[in-house]
Protein backbone atom coordinates (compact mmCIF):
# COMPACT_ATOMS: atom_id res chain seq x y z
CA UNK A 1 0.00 0.00 0.00
CA UNK A 2 1.32 3.42 -0.89
CA UNK A 3 2.12 5.59 2.09
CA UNK A 4 -0.02 8.73 1.97
CA UNK A 5 1.70 10.69 4.70
CA UNK A 6 5.05 11.36 3.04
CA UNK A 7 4.04 14.99 2.53
CA UNK A 8 3.22 15.42 6.21
CA UNK A 9 6.60 14.02 7.15
CA UNK A 10 8.35 16.38 4.73
CA UNK A 11 6.52 19.23 6.41
CA UNK A 12 7.50 18.03 9.88
CA UNK A 13 11.13 17.57 8.90
CA UNK A 14 11.25 20.97 7.21
CA UNK A 15 9.88 22.63 10.32
CA UNK A 16 12.35 20.79 12.52
CA UNK A 17 15.14 21.97 10.21
CA UNK A 18 13.85 25.54 10.57
CA UNK A 19 13.43 25.95 6.80
CA UNK A 20 10.70 28.01 5.19
CA UNK A 21 8.63 26.36 2.49
CA UNK A 22 10.00 28.77 -0.12
CA UNK A 23 13.61 27.98 0.87
CA UNK A 24 13.19 24.24 0.54
CA UNK A 25 11.28 24.59 -2.72
CA UNK A 26 14.05 26.73 -4.17
CA UNK A 27 16.72 24.24 -3.11
CA UNK A 28 15.04 21.38 -4.95
CA UNK A 29 13.94 23.42 -7.94
CA UNK A 30 10.15 23.43 -7.56
CA UNK A 31 7.67 26.15 -6.76
CA UNK A 32 6.61 26.84 -3.16
CA UNK A 33 2.99 26.23 -4.12
CA UNK A 34 3.83 22.79 -5.52
CA UNK A 35 5.74 21.95 -2.34
CA UNK A 36 2.72 23.12 -0.38
CA UNK A 37 0.52 20.64 -2.26
CA UNK A 38 3.06 17.87 -1.60
CA UNK A 39 3.23 18.73 2.11
CA UNK A 40 -0.52 18.51 2.36
CA UNK A 41 -0.43 15.09 0.70
CA UNK A 42 -2.28 16.38 -2.35
CA UNK A 43 0.48 15.48 -4.79
CA UNK A 44 2.31 12.19 -4.89
CA UNK A 45 6.05 12.28 -4.60
CA UNK A 46 8.79 9.81 -5.41
CA UNK A 47 11.89 9.27 -7.48
CA UNK A 48 14.44 12.04 -7.87
CA UNK A 49 12.36 14.76 -6.25
CA UNK A 50 11.98 12.67 -3.08
CA UNK A 51 15.73 12.03 -3.02
CA UNK A 52 16.45 15.74 -3.56
CA UNK A 53 14.10 16.81 -0.77
CA UNK A 54 15.53 14.20 1.57
CA UNK A 55 19.01 15.48 0.71
CA UNK A 56 18.01 19.06 1.41
CA UNK A 57 16.54 18.00 4.75
CA UNK A 58 19.62 15.86 5.52
CA UNK A 59 17.62 12.68 6.10
CA UNK A 60 17.38 9.33 4.39
CA UNK A 61 14.51 9.13 1.84
CA UNK A 62 13.15 6.17 3.81
CA UNK A 63 12.68 8.46 6.80
CA UNK A 64 10.24 10.45 4.70
CA UNK A 65 8.44 7.49 3.15
CA UNK A 66 8.39 5.16 6.13
CA UNK A 67 8.61 7.80 8.78
CA UNK A 68 10.22 8.12 12.13
CA UNK A 69 7.90 10.02 14.33
CA UNK A 70 9.03 13.63 14.45
CA UNK A 71 7.85 13.76 18.03
CA UNK A 72 10.25 10.96 18.89
CA UNK A 73 13.16 12.74 17.24
CA UNK A 74 12.19 15.93 18.99
CA UNK A 75 11.97 14.16 22.36
CA UNK A 76 15.40 12.58 21.85
CA UNK A 77 16.86 15.96 20.95
CA UNK A 78 15.46 17.39 24.15
CA UNK A 79 16.86 14.46 26.13
CA UNK A 80 20.29 15.09 24.60
CA UNK A 81 20.09 18.81 25.31
CA UNK A 82 19.18 18.16 28.95
CA UNK A 83 21.90 15.59 29.54
CA UNK A 84 24.48 16.80 32.01
CA UNK A 85 28.04 15.63 31.42
CA UNK A 86 27.03 13.48 28.46
CA UNK A 87 27.54 14.46 24.84
CA UNK A 88 25.03 12.59 22.69
CA UNK A 89 25.93 11.85 19.06
CA UNK A 90 23.27 14.08 17.56
CA UNK A 91 24.44 13.33 14.04
CA UNK A 92 23.45 9.70 14.59
CA UNK A 93 20.14 10.50 16.21
CA UNK A 94 17.95 9.46 13.31
CA UNK A 95 19.96 6.36 12.68
CA UNK A 96 19.57 5.45 16.37
CA UNK A 97 15.80 6.06 16.29
CA UNK A 98 15.49 4.18 13.01
CA UNK A 99 17.52 1.15 14.03
CA UNK A 100 16.32 0.88 17.60
CA UNK A 101 12.84 2.41 17.69
CA UNK A 102 11.95 0.50 20.85
CA UNK A 103 14.96 1.74 22.82
CA UNK A 104 14.52 5.22 21.44
CA UNK A 105 10.93 5.14 22.63
CA UNK A 106 11.98 4.00 26.10
CA UNK A 107 14.57 6.80 26.33
CA UNK A 108 12.08 9.42 25.13
CA UNK A 109 9.46 8.14 27.56
CA UNK A 110 11.88 8.25 30.49
CA UNK A 111 12.96 11.76 29.54
CA UNK A 112 9.33 12.89 29.43
CA UNK A 113 8.86 11.39 32.86
CA UNK A 114 11.86 13.25 34.26
CA UNK A 115 10.63 16.48 32.64
CA UNK A 116 7.25 15.93 34.19
CA UNK A 117 8.87 15.41 37.59
CA UNK A 118 10.92 18.57 37.20
CA UNK A 119 7.74 20.50 36.55
CA UNK A 120 6.18 18.95 39.60
CA UNK A 121 9.19 19.98 41.66
CA UNK A 122 9.07 23.53 40.31
CA UNK A 123 5.40 23.84 41.07
CA UNK A 124 5.71 22.45 44.55
CA UNK A 125 9.06 23.86 45.64
CA UNK A 126 7.40 26.99 46.98
CA UNK A 127 5.34 24.90 49.29
CA UNK A 128 8.16 22.70 50.48
CA UNK A 129 9.48 25.19 52.97
CA UNK A 130 6.05 25.60 54.45
CA UNK A 131 4.90 22.04 54.43
CA UNK A 132 6.98 19.20 55.93
CA UNK A 133 4.36 16.60 54.98
CA UNK A 134 4.74 17.62 51.40
CA UNK A 135 8.53 17.45 51.69
CA UNK A 136 8.24 13.83 52.82
CA UNK A 137 5.96 13.03 49.88
CA UNK A 138 8.40 14.65 47.48
CA UNK A 139 11.17 12.48 48.88
CA UNK A 140 9.21 9.45 47.79
CA UNK A 141 8.72 10.87 44.29
CA UNK A 142 12.36 11.87 43.90
CA UNK A 143 13.64 8.52 45.11
CA UNK A 144 11.44 6.77 42.57
CA UNK A 145 12.66 9.18 39.90
CA UNK A 146 16.25 8.33 40.87
CA UNK A 147 15.57 4.64 40.41
CA UNK A 148 13.89 5.23 37.04
CA UNK A 149 16.64 7.52 35.81
CA UNK A 150 19.42 5.19 36.80
CA UNK A 151 17.72 2.06 35.44
CA UNK A 152 16.68 3.71 32.18
CA UNK A 153 20.21 5.00 31.64
CA UNK A 154 21.62 1.51 32.16
CA UNK A 155 19.22 0.12 29.56
CA UNK A 156 19.94 2.93 27.12
CA UNK A 157 23.72 3.13 27.55
CA UNK A 158 24.89 -0.42 28.14
CA UNK A 159 25.98 -2.03 24.90
CA UNK A 160 25.75 -5.66 25.97
CA UNK A 161 23.48 -6.56 28.79
CA UNK A 162 22.66 -10.07 29.92
CA UNK A 163 19.02 -11.10 29.28
CA UNK A 164 18.37 -11.77 32.98
CA UNK A 165 19.58 -8.28 33.95
CA UNK A 166 17.56 -6.80 31.10
CA UNK A 167 14.41 -8.59 32.29
CA UNK A 168 15.03 -7.53 35.85
CA UNK A 169 15.53 -3.87 34.90
CA UNK A 170 12.42 -3.87 32.73
CA UNK A 171 10.50 -5.26 35.66
CA UNK A 172 12.01 -2.62 37.98
CA UNK A 173 11.07 0.14 35.56
CA UNK A 174 7.54 -1.13 35.46
CA UNK A 175 7.36 -1.28 39.27
CA UNK A 176 8.81 2.20 39.64
CA UNK A 177 6.52 3.64 37.00
CA UNK A 178 3.54 2.21 38.88
CA UNK A 179 4.90 3.53 42.15
CA UNK A 180 5.53 6.95 40.65
CA UNK A 181 1.99 7.05 39.29
CA UNK A 182 0.64 6.19 42.75
CA UNK A 183 2.88 8.72 44.52
CA UNK A 184 1.91 11.43 42.05
CA UNK A 185 -1.78 10.65 42.50
CA UNK A 186 -1.39 10.83 46.27
CA UNK A 187 0.39 14.17 45.96
CA UNK A 188 -2.33 15.59 43.73
CA UNK A 189 -4.99 14.33 46.12
CA UNK A 190 -3.14 15.92 49.02
CA UNK A 191 -2.86 19.23 47.20
CA UNK A 192 -6.47 19.14 46.09
CA UNK A 193 -7.45 18.56 49.67
CA UNK A 194 -5.34 21.44 50.92
CA UNK A 195 -6.62 23.68 48.13
CA UNK A 196 -10.22 23.00 49.05
CA UNK A 197 -9.60 23.43 52.74
CA UNK A 198 -10.12 27.19 52.69
CA UNK A 199 -8.65 28.69 55.82
CA UNK A 200 -6.40 25.67 56.21
CA UNK A 201 -4.19 27.31 53.60
CA UNK A 202 -3.92 30.39 55.74
CA UNK A 203 -3.00 32.55 52.75
CA UNK A 204 -5.87 34.89 51.78
CA UNK A 205 -3.99 35.98 48.66
CA UNK A 206 -4.40 32.50 47.24
CA UNK A 207 -8.15 32.84 47.67
CA UNK A 208 -8.07 36.21 45.91
CA UNK A 209 -6.16 34.82 42.97
CA UNK A 210 -8.40 31.77 42.81
CA UNK A 211 -11.41 34.12 42.65
CA UNK A 212 -9.88 36.19 39.85
CA UNK A 213 -8.77 33.05 37.98
CA UNK A 214 -12.28 31.59 38.22
CA UNK A 215 -13.61 34.77 36.60
CA UNK A 216 -10.92 34.88 33.92
CA UNK A 217 -9.70 38.19 35.44
CA UNK A 218 -12.58 39.90 33.66
CA UNK A 219 -15.81 41.10 35.29
CA UNK A 220 -18.56 41.98 32.77
CA UNK A 221 -20.87 43.28 35.51
CA UNK A 222 -18.31 45.91 36.54
CA UNK A 223 -17.66 46.81 32.90
CA UNK A 224 -21.38 47.17 32.13
CA UNK A 225 -22.22 49.13 35.26
CA UNK A 226 -19.56 51.71 34.49
CA UNK A 227 -17.41 50.77 37.45
CA UNK A 228 -19.63 49.48 40.24
CA UNK A 229 -17.40 47.07 42.12
CA UNK A 230 -20.07 45.37 44.24
CA UNK A 231 -19.95 41.62 43.66
CA UNK A 232 -21.05 38.63 45.70
CA UNK A 233 -17.94 37.53 47.61
CA UNK A 234 -19.70 35.12 49.97
CA UNK A 235 -17.93 32.13 48.39
CA UNK A 236 -14.66 33.38 49.90
CA UNK A 237 -14.15 31.75 53.29
CA UNK A 238 -12.22 34.28 55.28
CA UNK A 239 -12.89 37.93 56.05
CA UNK A 240 -9.29 38.69 55.08
CA UNK A 241 -9.79 37.15 51.63
CA UNK A 242 -13.06 39.06 51.13
CA UNK A 243 -11.45 42.33 52.14
CA UNK A 244 -8.42 41.83 49.89
CA UNK A 245 -10.60 40.80 46.96
CA UNK A 246 -12.75 43.89 47.39
CA UNK A 247 -9.62 46.06 47.37
CA UNK A 248 -8.49 44.56 44.07
CA UNK A 249 -12.00 44.85 42.62
CA UNK A 250 -12.04 48.52 43.60
CA UNK A 251 -8.82 49.03 41.64
CA UNK A 252 -10.36 47.10 38.73
CA UNK A 253 -13.45 49.32 38.82
CA UNK A 254 -11.39 52.51 38.95
CA UNK A 255 -9.33 51.28 35.97
CA UNK A 256 -12.54 50.44 34.08
CA UNK A 257 -13.85 53.96 34.68
CA UNK A 258 -10.55 55.47 33.51
CA UNK A 259 -10.39 53.30 30.39
CA UNK A 260 -13.86 52.01 29.40
CA UNK A 261 -13.76 48.63 27.70
CA UNK A 262 -15.36 49.72 24.42
CA UNK A 263 -12.94 52.64 24.07
CA UNK A 264 -9.94 50.43 24.85
CA UNK A 265 -11.07 47.88 22.27
CA UNK A 266 -11.57 50.65 19.72
CA UNK A 267 -8.07 51.97 20.40
CA UNK A 268 -6.56 48.49 20.04
CA UNK A 269 -8.41 47.98 16.76
CA UNK A 270 -6.88 51.17 15.37
CA UNK A 271 -3.27 50.65 16.32
CA UNK A 272 -0.88 48.02 17.58
CA UNK A 273 -0.62 47.49 21.29
CA UNK A 274 1.69 50.08 22.81
CA UNK A 275 0.99 50.69 26.49
CA UNK A 276 2.68 54.09 26.50
CA UNK A 277 0.58 55.36 23.58
CA UNK A 278 -2.54 54.06 25.31
CA UNK A 279 -1.57 55.87 28.52
CA UNK A 280 -1.19 59.07 26.57
CA UNK A 281 -4.43 58.58 24.67
CA UNK A 282 -6.49 58.00 27.84
CA UNK A 283 -4.52 60.44 30.01
CA UNK A 284 -3.79 57.81 32.64
CA UNK A 285 -0.59 56.42 34.14
CA UNK A 286 1.10 53.38 32.67
CA UNK A 287 0.17 51.16 35.63
CA UNK A 288 -3.53 51.65 34.85
CA UNK A 289 -2.98 50.63 31.22
CA UNK A 290 -0.99 47.52 32.14
CA UNK A 291 -3.63 46.36 34.64
CA UNK A 292 -6.38 47.12 32.13
CA UNK A 293 -4.72 45.15 29.33
CA UNK A 294 -4.40 42.15 31.64
CA UNK A 295 -8.13 42.41 32.42
CA UNK A 296 -9.30 42.12 28.79
CA UNK A 297 -11.47 39.09 28.01
CA UNK A 298 -9.55 35.86 27.42
CA UNK A 299 -8.03 35.67 23.95
CA UNK A 300 -8.71 39.31 23.06
CA UNK A 301 -5.04 40.17 22.77
CA UNK A 302 -4.31 37.05 20.72
CA UNK A 303 -1.39 35.98 22.85
CA UNK A 304 -1.50 34.89 26.51
CA UNK A 305 -0.99 37.86 28.80
CA UNK A 306 -0.19 37.81 32.51
CA UNK A 307 0.30 40.39 35.22
CA UNK A 308 2.22 40.62 38.45
CA UNK A 309 2.14 43.35 41.08
CA UNK A 310 4.57 43.78 43.97
CA UNK A 311 5.19 46.28 46.72
CA UNK A 312 8.43 48.05 47.56
CA UNK A 313 9.64 45.09 49.62
CA UNK A 314 9.40 42.88 46.52
CA UNK A 315 6.52 40.87 47.95
CA UNK A 316 4.16 39.73 45.24
CA UNK A 317 0.72 41.13 45.93
CA UNK A 318 -1.18 39.86 42.95
CA UNK A 319 -0.54 37.77 39.89
CA UNK A 320 -2.30 36.57 36.78
CA UNK A 321 -0.38 33.61 35.43
CA UNK A 322 0.72 33.20 31.83
CA UNK A 323 1.73 29.79 30.46
CA UNK A 324 5.49 29.27 30.47
CA UNK A 325 6.32 32.11 32.86
CA UNK A 326 6.60 30.71 36.37
CA UNK A 327 5.51 33.07 39.14
CA UNK A 328 6.37 31.88 42.66
CA UNK A 329 3.34 31.77 44.88
CA UNK A 330 5.08 32.84 48.04
CA UNK A 331 7.27 35.64 46.71
CA UNK A 332 11.05 35.16 46.46
CA UNK A 333 10.91 35.69 42.70
CA UNK A 334 13.93 36.34 40.48
CA UNK A 335 15.35 39.81 41.23
CA UNK A 336 16.19 40.25 37.55
CA UNK A 337 12.53 40.56 36.54
CA UNK A 338 11.76 43.96 35.01
CA UNK A 339 9.11 44.22 37.75
CA UNK A 340 11.87 44.69 40.32
CA UNK A 341 14.13 46.70 38.01
CA UNK A 342 11.28 49.20 37.78
CA UNK A 343 11.43 49.73 41.54
CA UNK A 344 15.00 50.99 41.04
CA UNK A 345 13.71 53.58 38.59
CA UNK A 346 10.25 54.68 39.75
CA UNK A 347 8.04 56.32 37.11
CA UNK A 348 10.34 55.16 34.29
CA UNK A 349 8.51 52.82 31.92
CA UNK A 350 10.49 49.65 31.18
CA UNK A 351 10.04 47.45 28.14
CA UNK A 352 12.23 44.39 28.10
CA UNK A 353 12.16 41.12 26.23
CA UNK A 354 13.06 38.27 28.54
CA UNK A 355 13.54 34.54 28.42
CA UNK A 356 12.74 32.70 31.59
CA UNK A 357 15.31 29.97 32.11
CA UNK A 358 13.90 26.61 33.00
CA UNK A 359 12.07 23.90 31.20
CA UNK A 360 10.40 25.85 28.41
CA UNK A 361 12.83 28.76 27.89
CA UNK A 362 9.93 30.69 26.37
CA UNK A 363 10.33 34.36 25.41
CA UNK A 364 8.13 37.13 26.80
CA UNK A 365 7.66 40.84 26.28
CA UNK A 366 7.54 42.58 29.65
CA UNK A 367 6.32 46.08 30.37
CA UNK A 368 7.01 47.27 33.91
CA UNK A 369 6.33 50.45 35.81
CA UNK A 370 6.67 51.52 39.44
CA UNK A 371 4.38 54.21 40.76
CA UNK A 372 3.79 55.82 44.16
CA UNK A 373 0.99 53.90 45.78
CA UNK A 374 0.42 56.59 48.35
CA UNK A 375 1.80 59.91 49.51
CA UNK A 376 1.17 59.93 53.22
CA UNK A 377 2.13 63.44 54.24
CA UNK A 378 4.38 66.40 53.49
CA UNK A 379 8.11 65.75 53.39
CA UNK A 380 7.64 62.02 53.51
CA UNK A 381 8.75 59.76 50.67
CA UNK A 382 6.08 57.84 48.80
CA UNK A 383 5.68 54.06 49.03
CA UNK A 384 6.04 52.53 45.61
CA UNK A 385 4.40 49.57 43.97
CA UNK A 386 5.43 47.98 40.73
CA UNK A 387 3.40 46.25 38.04
CA UNK A 388 4.56 44.11 35.13
CA UNK A 389 2.59 42.97 32.10
CA UNK A 390 3.94 39.71 30.65
CA UNK A 391 3.07 38.78 27.04
CA UNK A 392 4.25 35.62 25.36
CA UNK A 393 6.16 36.13 22.12
CA UNK A 394 5.77 34.02 19.04
CA UNK A 395 8.21 33.47 16.20
CA UNK A 396 11.26 34.96 17.86
CA UNK A 397 13.89 35.66 15.22
CA UNK A 398 17.51 35.01 16.15
CA UNK A 399 18.63 38.54 15.43
CA UNK A 400 15.82 40.28 17.23
CA UNK A 401 16.41 42.66 20.09
CA UNK A 402 18.51 41.44 22.98
CA UNK A 403 16.74 39.06 25.30
CA UNK A 404 17.47 39.29 29.00
CA UNK A 405 17.83 36.03 30.90
CA UNK A 406 15.73 35.80 34.04
CA UNK A 407 14.64 32.92 36.23
CA UNK A 408 11.54 31.90 38.12
CA UNK A 409 13.07 31.91 41.62
CA UNK A 410 16.56 30.94 42.71
CA UNK A 411 15.43 27.63 44.10
CA UNK A 412 14.32 26.28 40.72
CA UNK A 413 16.56 28.34 38.41
CA UNK A 414 19.22 26.51 36.39
CA UNK A 415 21.42 29.62 35.87
CA UNK A 416 24.30 28.54 38.11
CA UNK A 417 26.55 31.53 37.38
CA UNK A 418 23.98 34.18 38.22
CA UNK A 419 25.46 36.90 40.42
CA UNK A 420 22.06 37.71 41.86
CA UNK A 421 21.53 34.22 43.21
CA UNK A 422 20.23 34.10 46.79
CA UNK A 423 20.45 30.36 47.38
CA UNK A 424 21.54 27.24 45.49
CA UNK A 425 19.06 25.69 43.09
CA UNK A 426 17.52 22.41 44.11
CA UNK A 427 17.58 21.48 40.42
CA UNK A 428 21.23 22.18 39.65
CA UNK A 429 22.55 18.85 40.83
CA UNK A 430 19.48 16.71 40.86
CA UNK A 431 18.67 17.21 37.21
Amino acid sequence: MRDTLTGSRIRERRQIAGLRQADLARQVGISASYLNLIEHNRRRIGGKLLVDIAGALAVEPSVLTQGIEATLISALREAAADAVGQQAELESLEEFAGRFPGWAGVLAQMHRRVVSLERTVETLSDRLTHDPHLAASMHEVLSTAAAIRSTAAILADTQEIEPEWQDRFHSNLHQDAERLAESSKSLVAYLDESDSAGDHRGVPLEDVEAFFDANGHHFPSIEESGGDAKLDLSELDSAAARSLTQDFLNVYAADARAIPLDKLQAALAEASLDPLQLASRFSVDLATVLRRLAALPDGYLGRPTGLVVCDASGSILFSKSVPGFAMPRFGEACPLWPLFQALNRPLVPIHQRVVQLGRTAAVFDCYAYAWPQSVLSYDQGPVYRSVMLVRSVEDVAQDEQAVARVGPSCRVCPHSDCRSRREPSILSEGF
Binding site: V84, G85, V114, A147, T151, W165, F169, G430
Partner: protein, 126 residues
Amino acid sequence: MSRKVLLIEDEPNIAEAIRFLLTREGWHVETHAEGADALQVIQGASPDLVILDVMLPGKSGMEILRDLRELDDMQSLPVLMLTARGQSRDREMAENAGVSRFMTKPFSNTEMLTAVRDLHAQATQS
Protein backbone atom coordinates in the same frame (compact mmCIF):
# COMPACT_ATOMS: atom_id res chain seq x y z
CA MET B 1 41.53 -8.80 45.74
CA SER B 2 38.51 -6.83 44.50
CA ARG B 3 37.52 -3.54 46.04
CA LYS B 4 34.48 -3.69 48.27
CA VAL B 5 31.68 -1.14 48.47
CA LEU B 6 28.92 -1.27 51.07
CA LEU B 7 25.68 0.22 49.76
CA ILE B 8 23.20 1.21 52.46
CA GLU B 9 20.01 2.07 50.61
CA ASP B 10 16.43 1.05 51.36
CA GLU B 11 15.12 1.61 47.82
CA PRO B 12 15.70 -1.84 46.28
CA ASN B 13 15.60 -0.68 42.66
CA ILE B 14 18.14 2.08 43.23
CA ALA B 15 20.31 -0.44 45.06
CA GLU B 16 19.99 -2.89 42.19
CA ALA B 17 20.97 -0.29 39.57
CA ILE B 18 23.99 0.84 41.60
CA ARG B 19 25.01 -2.74 42.25
CA PHE B 20 24.90 -3.48 38.50
CA LEU B 21 26.97 -0.41 37.62
CA LEU B 22 29.62 -0.94 40.27
CA THR B 23 29.92 -4.67 39.68
CA ARG B 24 30.73 -3.88 36.05
CA GLU B 25 33.45 -1.54 37.30
CA GLY B 26 35.05 -4.39 39.20
CA TRP B 27 33.63 -3.65 42.65
CA HIS B 28 32.36 -6.27 45.04
CA VAL B 29 29.05 -4.81 46.21
CA GLU B 30 27.33 -5.62 49.48
CA THR B 31 23.95 -4.09 50.21
CA HIS B 32 22.05 -3.31 53.38
CA ALA B 33 18.65 -1.64 53.72
CA GLU B 34 18.33 -0.85 57.46
CA GLY B 35 19.53 2.20 59.33
CA ALA B 36 19.28 0.85 62.88
CA ASP B 37 22.16 -1.63 62.63
CA ALA B 38 24.04 0.01 59.76
CA LEU B 39 27.00 1.04 61.93
CA GLN B 40 27.63 -2.55 63.02
CA VAL B 41 27.27 -3.73 59.42
CA ILE B 42 29.88 -1.22 58.26
CA GLN B 43 32.28 -2.30 60.98
CA GLY B 44 31.75 -5.96 60.15
CA ALA B 45 32.09 -5.56 56.40
CA SER B 46 35.29 -3.43 56.40
CA PRO B 47 34.47 -1.88 53.03
CA ASP B 48 36.75 0.33 50.94
CA LEU B 49 33.89 2.76 50.40
CA VAL B 50 30.37 3.31 51.73
CA ILE B 51 27.41 4.66 49.79
CA LEU B 52 24.89 5.86 52.34
CA ASP B 53 21.31 7.00 51.82
CA VAL B 54 20.07 9.71 54.19
CA MET B 55 16.47 8.56 54.66
CA LEU B 56 16.71 5.07 56.10
CA PRO B 57 14.35 3.12 58.33
CA GLY B 58 15.44 2.99 61.95
CA LYS B 59 18.19 5.58 61.87
CA SER B 60 19.03 8.38 59.45
CA GLY B 61 22.14 8.31 57.29
CA MET B 62 23.23 11.55 58.90
CA GLU B 63 23.21 9.98 62.39
CA ILE B 64 25.01 6.88 61.11
CA LEU B 65 27.72 9.07 59.59
CA ARG B 66 28.18 11.06 62.80
CA ASP B 67 28.51 7.86 64.85
CA LEU B 68 30.87 6.39 62.26
CA ARG B 69 33.25 9.34 62.39
CA GLU B 70 33.51 9.02 66.14
CA LEU B 71 35.19 5.65 65.70
CA ASP B 72 38.97 5.95 65.49
CA ASP B 73 39.42 3.51 62.61
CA MET B 74 36.61 5.02 60.51
CA GLN B 75 37.91 8.58 60.14
CA SER B 76 39.17 8.18 56.59
CA LEU B 77 36.64 5.71 55.20
CA PRO B 78 35.18 7.36 52.06
CA VAL B 79 31.42 7.92 52.43
CA LEU B 80 29.28 8.98 49.49
CA MET B 81 25.94 10.24 50.74
CA LEU B 82 22.75 10.10 48.64
CA THR B 83 19.76 12.27 49.40
CA ALA B 84 16.61 13.64 47.82
CA ARG B 85 17.15 16.87 49.75
CA GLY B 86 19.77 19.03 48.07
CA GLN B 87 19.34 22.27 49.94
CA SER B 88 22.40 24.07 51.20
CA ARG B 89 21.61 23.40 54.85
CA ASP B 90 21.43 19.64 54.22
CA ARG B 91 24.76 19.74 52.43
CA GLU B 92 26.26 21.76 55.26
CA MET B 93 24.90 19.29 57.83
CA ALA B 94 26.44 16.39 55.91
CA GLU B 95 29.78 18.16 55.63
CA ASN B 96 29.79 18.84 59.34
CA ALA B 97 29.07 15.18 59.97
CA GLY B 98 32.12 14.20 57.92
CA VAL B 99 30.76 13.23 54.51
CA SER B 100 33.29 12.69 51.71
CA ARG B 101 30.86 13.47 48.85
CA PHE B 102 27.23 14.51 48.77
CA MET B 103 24.93 13.64 45.85
CA THR B 104 21.34 14.65 45.20
CA LYS B 105 18.71 12.28 43.83
CA PRO B 106 17.93 11.76 41.03
CA PHE B 107 21.62 11.54 40.09
CA SER B 108 23.06 10.40 36.78
CA ASN B 109 24.92 7.12 36.58
CA THR B 110 27.99 8.88 35.23
CA GLU B 111 27.95 11.29 38.15
CA MET B 112 27.73 8.44 40.63
CA LEU B 113 30.49 6.38 38.97
CA THR B 114 32.77 9.41 38.75
CA ALA B 115 32.23 10.15 42.43
CA VAL B 116 33.05 6.56 43.40
CA ARG B 117 36.19 6.53 41.24
CA ASP B 118 37.37 9.87 42.63
CA LEU B 119 36.77 8.92 46.23
CA HIS B 120 38.56 5.61 45.84
CA ALA B 121 41.49 7.24 44.07
CA GLN B 122 41.82 9.84 46.82
CA ALA B 123 41.64 7.16 49.53
CA THR B 124 44.31 4.98 47.94
CA GLN B 125 46.66 7.93 47.37
CA SER B 126 46.48 9.13 50.96
